[in-house]
């Protein structure tokens, strides 16, 4: 356990690395980082495969057209996975596991992860972005809405985290 922790990068240096990546994204693409839009488009693609006419007639997903994956944030999402796997292999951190507290049940962890995911997927669409697209990118752009979103994430998280602490019991 100790060794693995030490392999993590100094958080401030990692932060500077992330900040420079974000800056590069601003300068080259003219748009910041994003993850949830990629997921939403994958979701739209999945729904298109199942019910094409229905999806195209939806006001929200319909706006993506019939080729929702043809979007830069879908490719960025793929890039995140590639970059992370490179780093993880370098640090020998690739293992199949359900990450949870030593005394917690896997079932609870999985249930929480699923419901948490649904809430996050839903609210990312509502707010037009997630921690990457709004909180990180928007805050660096000094956008009011993004700061409001960022603050509300921590408010929501700190208010309810106590309820979900069971999954991390050691």
């Amino acid at each position: 356990m100790e060794n693995k922790i030490l392999k993590y990068m100094n958080p401030y240096l990692a932060g500077i690395g992330l900040g420079m990546t974000l800056l590069a994204s601003f300068l080259i693409m003219g748009a910041g980082l994003g993850a949830s839009s990629g997921i939403a488009r994958i979701a739209a693609f999945a729904e298109l495969c199942i019910a094409k006419t229905h999806t195209l007639s939806c006001e929200y997903f319909g706006g993506y057209g019939d080729k929702p994956l043809n979007y830069y944030l879908v490719f960025m999402f793929g890039g995140i996975f590639i970059g992370a796997i490179c780093s993880a292999i370098m640090a020998d951190r690739v293992h199949w596991q359900i990450e949870r507290g030593g005394k917690s049940s896997a079932k609870i962890r999985i249930t929480f992860a699923l419901i948490g995911g649904i809430l996050v997927g839903f609210s990312s669409r509502l707010a037009n972005g997630c921690t990457s697209g709004q909180a990180l990118t928007g805050s660096a752009l000094l956008l009011t809405g993004s700061f409001v979103f960022l603050i509300c994430i921590f408010v929501g998280g700190y208010l309810t985290a106590w309820l979900f602490r069971g999954q991390w019991n050691d």
Binding site: L18, Y64, I80, G116, V120, G145
Partner: protein, 658 residues
């Protein structure tokens, strides 16, 4: 000055997708390095067990914010180049709260979960599955959520404007807050003697000094320019300030786009340097450098609406103030400048985050085809270039040009009529000779090679000016015109008024037959791009991306009369009978004036570049509407469904409407 892909509108190109992958790789790499591929580590922040989330996230925010502000201060990039998300207070507050709950519960956020999957975290896979489900739920419930999704829409709001601070002043404040937070986090972790504490303090100290120095320096350099700007504007009149305050001096991009398309009398002025103007500018805009504005615009003073734009807002705003002081009251600024225009009017629908209403969808399509088409096409390509004949000629013109070898006159009346008297030098042709059966559909315009043979027999060369003379059917001349269109022969015209006007003006007639030397007609092209088949029409019926005009008489369109297997019309088609474009006085049929036609078609077709399909029963009458739209009015995207209703009605699988 850096130009981003967003600015250049190339975010949908392969290069952009490749750049997105590379940036994503760097993003994922640093997320994983920081330990964000562990849900336990991420969740630690909510239990004060591991404050890495705060440290990494805020370091990234201030690094990028300081970096960007530096680049802006030194003029390397302007904010116009970056996509700024609008603030929607309701959606951001509620979205943030729900997101926070989901984050604490699931232990992941979307980006970190992708990193988690890369490390083999099964909970991350489940979490991502959840986010997909959550997105689908949002989509399905969108109708109910929409009010919340739009609650408190405020456009792009910058936090330093909200707080009434300067940009760089706010960056300094943010840096201070972040650094205090970092030290608090360190103190907390030390106090709780958490096992994860590593020796961060050296890095933190260096970074704190560095970032503070940068943001302080930023304020020092910018204070000079800000002061200069302040003294410049302080002299402006109260009235000016008032109109600015009420935003009466602005025009929204959408409004400008509509006004231009409607052909309103407005002067659009691009104040950017000529090279930027040459790369891209709003269609019909003039390029006037700031220093020449007073002089160049003097003749338009207080006459028509003058709209100034640049990439952003600062330069035109200063120019506007200056013009106002010398008495111009008709000057407006384009809100958000050219970038706003591109973003709001020309950004491809597929790249937009918010779905658009159907109405907006159509508008954006039209704007894109109008404002982007002009850039890709050489200027002379719109209404047929000067090398071609004017589309309509009158009897006097024809009389003057009789006998010229490069002018060929084709009389489309019946043979007996021709034989009793015709314009000297004219040849007889029946348009039915230009038509044939194709795949069981009658009266189709012949393929190009057959048409070329007819031209050869009539001794026509590909650079001749061909003048068509009609009898009692104007659309005979336009159908013959279609034959030339198919051959890529643009140099043809119609005698407006036909044979009747020649006769009425007592001009020379003859019964002599001209001698013809057969030519070897060389067609410019053997396929045309304007003839549509039923599949193409069906496609546009389904996607509603074209204006379909049924030019048959109204009772055929309504289905009260029918000569075919099925009665009615193509779904979505509108009826504009071909006869409406013709005016008949004393047995002389002529085209209505271009102004009249212009007005009439502007009401059915949004722009000159809109996709239009014209059809009738056999393609004959529709050829006339085609001629009116393409030749007389300069519509650039018109298709001709030659097979028309006779095919549509016969094919039972095609939808009809009554």
């Amino acid at each position: 000055m850096i130009k981003t892909m967003y600015y250049l509108n190339t975010l949908d190109t392969g290069t952009a997708l490749f750049a997105a992958i590379l940036i994503g790789i760097a993003f994922g790499f640093f997320l994983e390095r920081a330990g964000f591929s562990s849900s336990r580590k991420l969740s630690g922040v909510f239990y004060f067990k591991d404050m890495a989330v705060i440290k990494v996230m805020f370091t990234a925010v201030i690094t990028a914010a300081i970096g960007l502000s530096c680049l802006i201060s030194f003029g390397f990039i302007s904010l116009d180049n970056i996509y700024l998300m609008p603030t929607v207070y309701g959606a951001h507050i509620v979205g943030g709260l729900i997101f926070g709950i989901g984050f604490a519960m699931g232990g992941w956020c979307p980006g970190t979960a992708a990193a988690g999957v890369a490390c083999g975290k099964i909970d991350a896979i489940i979490f991502l599955l959840g986010t997909v489900i959550g997105s689908v739920i949002f989509n399905e419930l969108f109708a109910f959520i929409k009010p919340l999704y739009q609650a408190g829409q405020s456009g792009v709001v910058l936090v330093y404007d909200s707080l009434k601070m300067s940009r760089n002043g706010f960056v300094l404040l943010l840096t201070l807050i972040a650094i205090i937070m970092f030290w608090l986090c360190e103190w907390l972790e030390k106090k709780r003697q958490l096992p994860i504490v590593s020796n961060n303090s050296v890095v933190l100290k260096i970074m704190s000094v560095l970032l503070l120095a940068l943001s302080l320096g930023l304020n020092f350099t910018s204070s000079k320019t800000a002061a200069a700007q302040l003294s410049d504007t302080s002299s402006s009149e109260a009235q000016l300030l008032e109109s600015i305050d009420k935003a009466q001096d602005h025009i929204e991009p959408e409004e400008l786009a509509q006004r231009i398309i409607q052909g309103q009398d407005i002067i659009v002025v691009d104040v950017r340097p000529a090279d930027e103007y040459n790369k891209f500018h709003i269609r019909n805009a003039m390029n006037i450098p700031l220093e020449a504005l007073h002089q160049e615009l003097d003749s338009f003073k207080n006459k028509s609406m003058i709209i100034l734009y640049s990439n952003g807002m600062t330069h035109p705003a200063q120019a506007r103030d200056s013009l106002y002081r010398s008495g111009f009251t008709n000057v407006y600024l384009l809100t958000d400048g050219l970038n706003g225009f591109i973003d709001r009017c020309l950004k491809p629908i597929s790249l937009r985050n918010e779905p658009l209403s159907e109405d907006m969808d159509l508008k954006v399509d039209n704007w894109r085809s109008y404002f982007l088409a002009s850039e890709t096409m050489p200027k002379s390509a719109t209404p047929q270039a000067s090398t071609s004949q004017e589309p309509l000629v009158d009897a006097n013109w024809l009389e003057k040009n009789l006998g010229k070898p490069s002018i060929k006159i084709i009389d489309l009346r019946s043979q007996p009529e021709y034989n009793t008297g015709h314009i000297p030098g004219s040849l007889a042709l029946s348009v039915e000779n230009l038509r044939t059966d194709i795949n069981g559909i009658g009266s189709m315009l012949q393929p190009a090679d057959m048409l070329a043979r007819h031209m050869s027999l009539m001794g026509i060369a590909s650079d001749d000016a061909v003048i068509f003379i009609y009898g009692d059917r104007v659309h005979d001349a336009t159908l013959a015109g279609m034959a030339l269109e198919r051959l890529g022969h643009k140099n043809y015209a119609i005698l407006n008024g036909g044979f009747a006007i020649w006769k009425a003006s007592n001009k020379l007639l003859t019964t002599d037959l001209p001698t013809v030397i057969a030519s070897k007609y060389q067609a410019a092209n053997y396929t045309d791009e304007f003839t549509a088949d039923s599949q193409t029409v069906l496609k546009y019926v389904q996607n509603k991306k074209a204006v379909i005009i049924d030019v048959r008489p109204a009772d055929y369109y309504n289905g009260t009369k029918s000569d075919e297997a099925r009665a009615g019309h193509v779904p979505g088609a509108i009826n504009r009978p071909f006869s409406e474009d013709i005016v008949k006085t004393n047995d002389i049929q002529q085209f209505k004036s271009v102004e009249q036609l212009q007005t009439a078609y502007a009401q059915i077709i949004p722009t000159k570049e809109t996709k239009v399909i014209v059809h009738c029963r056999t393609g004959h009458q529709a050829s006339q509407t085609f001629f009116v739209l393409v030749r007389l009015l300069g519509y650039t995207n018109v298709l001709w469904y030659d097979a028309g209703w006779s095919e549509w009605a016969a094919k039972q699988e095609l939808p009809i409407k009554k």
